[in-house]
């Protein structure tokens, strides 16, 4: 087990280095002149050259990367935005909680929905309820989050006034630029985004859980449990569910990573000031440090999350734990 952990940690470090390197190379090799961006329109050639030197852009790429890494690891700094001159760390500190609310809140709700629906579908396979669930799956998988978001926001928000159409409220206090705050307002404003965001994943998970549970029900050890005289309830809770949910843990880790990417759509539709929207904005401004900062931050998060999930899986499955 210890070996497994150490190996995973080393692998995580390696992944981190690889991801940052690739991102760095892509962005700094792209034919856009960061120095010019930073300097602004009114700069002359000499000014740009001076800025370039100041930014270290006239050094070889590997040296730039090295300095970036050093800045990152040694000073824990992601740089400074070209456009707003803000510390990227600060920008991320402001936007990350929004995305986290969306993603983790969404994950919570998608699991809340998909687990019971998936299990019930499996237990009552081919019944009306099961077939309805499968239709739901089809719709959820096929419909694009943007389309869903717009439809929901139109009907529930605009027409029926059940939920707000857009905007974000801070969980703790009213933040700059908005007039609402506190947990209730936060949740209220997140309802539509959560629904939009979770639909796709809920659909996928219903299908996955249903398949897993159905397969586990046919396993020999479930038959053994019945042969022992265990009640159907016991067979389900102790034997079927625990075993069929195990693979979900790993997949969840992977999907959170994907979800971070998908968050962009939902954040755009509902104007949530999260990482996704931040990236979109920075992209149109070519604000490279911010883009890079978001990518690095997300990568770190995904790597950590997957590591946690892997370790959790090893803890839950004695076959891996006791190798």
């Amino acid at each position: 087990m210890l070996q497994f952990l150490i190996r995973r940690l080393l692998w995580a470090v390696f992944l981190f280095l690889a991801a940052t390197l690739i991102t760095y190379v892509i962005f700094y090799v792209v034919p856009a002149d960061p120095a010019k961006q930073m300097c602004g329109r009114a700069c002359t050639q000499e000014d740009v050259a001076r800025v370039a030197h100041h930014l270290g852009l006239d050094r070889p790429v590997y040296e730039q990367y090295g300095r970036y890494l050093w800045q990152l690891v040694g000073h824990q700094s992601l740089g400074t935005s070209y456009t707003t001159r803000q510390e990227v760390n600060h920008i991320i500190a402001q936007t990350a909680p929004v995305t986290a609310s969306l993603v983790f809140g969404g994950a919570f709700f998608w699991l809340l929905l998909s687990i019971p629906v998936g299990i019930l579908s499996a237990l009552r396979a081919r019944s009306i309820g099961d077939r309805a669930a499968m239709v739901f799956v089809l719709v959820g998988v096929s419909a694009h989050p943007v389309w869903i978001g717009l439809i929901l926001s139109y009907f529930l928000g605009y027409r029926l006034h059940v939920t707000p159409i857009a905007g974000y409220c801070d969980f703790f206090n009213p933040s700059l630029g908005s007039d609402c705050g506190g947990p209730v307002q936060w949740a209220y404003h997140m309802i539509l985004p959560w629904m939009t965001f979770m639909l796709l994943f809920a659909a996928l998970y219903v299908r996955l859980i249903r398949a897993n549970v159905m397969e586990t029900m046919t396993e020999d050890y479930v038959r053994t449990a019945r042969a022992k005289g265990a009640s159907e309830h016991r067979v389900l809770s102790q034997h079927v569910l625990r075993n069929s949910m195990l693979p979900i843990v790993t997949i969840l880790g992977m999907d959170i990573g994907l979800a971070l990417g998908g968050a962009i759509f939902t954040e755009s539709v509902f104007s949530l000031p999260g990482l996704g929207r931040q990236v979109l904005q920075s992209y149109s401004n070519f604000d490279l440090p911010v883009i890079l900062g978001v990518v690095v931050f997300s990568t770190i998060c995904i790597i950590i999350f997957n590591l946690v999930v892997d370790v959790l899986y090893a803890v839950l499955d004695p076959r891996i734990r006791l190798e």
């Binding site: 070996q3 150490i6 190996r7 080393l10």
Partner: protein, 344 residues
């Protein structure tokens, strides 16, 4: 004496690595450890043993599906031990294999005609029309309807699928066929059909067989000579009749007494040696004689110190044991001594 296959000191070790970044070899699974035998042209050599004895690994080494770690394999007077893939190609026409699982060894998405013709295709034999004719011929030879050329494997029963596998092996007129547990997955009545078929084909086409199985009855029936393996080594080799009437190695004796006899009166009369414990893992085999911890005839100081070598007891009968069985069936005394040893 016309050996088709000569295997000498064959070894196949699978390394076990440990380590976080740089994997270091800390040991190895000695799946086949210094095995030598010959197979005469036209005969059937049966290889029998329990799990972990190495018989399947041995088969795959002979077929060069695995690369041996040491030793040599000489097939039809040609050393095939270290031939490259392309060099092995022409050899593979002569050396074919029939597998255990009739459900897994046929590609379910291909038609039977394609499956049986594939070896012909691979070796570039015959035109398409000639191949088709050959396939139909083969289907008939193995007792299937040649008109089922276009059917899929799932339309056949287990026994029929095994026949397809055999037809496939025969397609290129091989000299030798290695059969790896070909009847283990079949019902008893179907098993008899396949065994009879294999025998018929052998006389009709002058084939040489290596027949691997864990069922002693089956091996006895079809083999001319039988080799008993235990934990990667050869325990005993003899012709069919002698092995079963005068075994020398105590493991052979234990195997023979463990085989259930389909005759209640005979069965209850016989004196059984029942071995205790499980077959040990080939990762850490016991020192010297691999069988010594479970052996009813163990003598401390010899069996756990010196590894017994294969030595002849009669022409064609060899066993690797310091204290071979003296009588068979064992006398009452011997059985009780064995039971005591086993109990301790």
């Amino acid at each position: 004496m016309d050996p088709l296959l000569v295997v000498e000191n064959l070894q196949k070790f699978f390394p076990i690595t440990k380590g976080i970044l740089l994997k270091k070899e800390v040991g190895s699974v000695k799946a086949v450890d210094d095995v030598s035998f010959t197979v005469e042209r036209g005969e059937t050599l049966g290889i029998v043993g329990e799990s972990g004895c190495g018989k399947s690994t041995l088969a795959r080494c002979v077929m060069r599906l695995l690369d041996p770690t040491g030793g040599s394999i000489v097939f039809d007077e040609r050393d095939i031990t270290r031939l490259s893939r392309s060099e092995m190609r022409p050899v593979r026409r002569e050396l074919m294999m029939v597998f255990q699982d009739p459900y897994a060894s046929l590609n379910g998405r291909k038609r039977v005609g394609f499956i049986v013709a594939e070896p012909l295709d691979v070796h570039g034999i015959g035109t398409e029309a000639e191949r088709k004719r050959r396939v139909q011929e083969l289907l008939e030879v193995v007792g299937l309807n040649p008109e089922h050329y276009n059917r899929f494997p799932h339309e056949f029963s287990g026994g029929q699928r095994q026949r397809i596998g055999i037809a496939r092996a025969l397609a290129v007129n091989p000299k030798m066929i290695v059969c790896d547990e070909p009847v283990s997955a079949l019902d008893v009545s179907v098993q008899a059909q396949i065994l009879n078929l294999l025998k018929d084909l052998q006389s009709e086409f002058g084939l040489t067989y290596i027949f691997i199985a864990h069922d002693l009855n089956v091996v006895r029936h079809i083999s001319d000579r039988v080799m008993v393996m235990y934990l990667g080594k050869v325990a005993e080799v003899a012709d069919g009749k002698t092995l079963y009437t005068e075994p020398k190695h105590p493991y052979t004796g234990a195997l023979l007494s463990a085989v259930p006899i389909p005759d209640p009166t005979l069965g209850r009369q016989r004196k059984q040696i029942v071995l205790e414990g499980d077959v040990p893992s080939p990762i850490n085999p016991p020192a010297a004689c691999r069988f010594h911890p479970r052996c009813p005839r163990f003598h401390a100081g010899t069996c756990d110190v010196d590894e017994p070598q294969l030595r002849p007891f009669a022409p064609g009968h060899e066993a690797a044991c310091h204290f071979p069985l003296e009588h068979w069936p064992m006398t009452v005394d011997e059985v009780s001594r064995a039971a005591e040893r086993v109990a301790s």
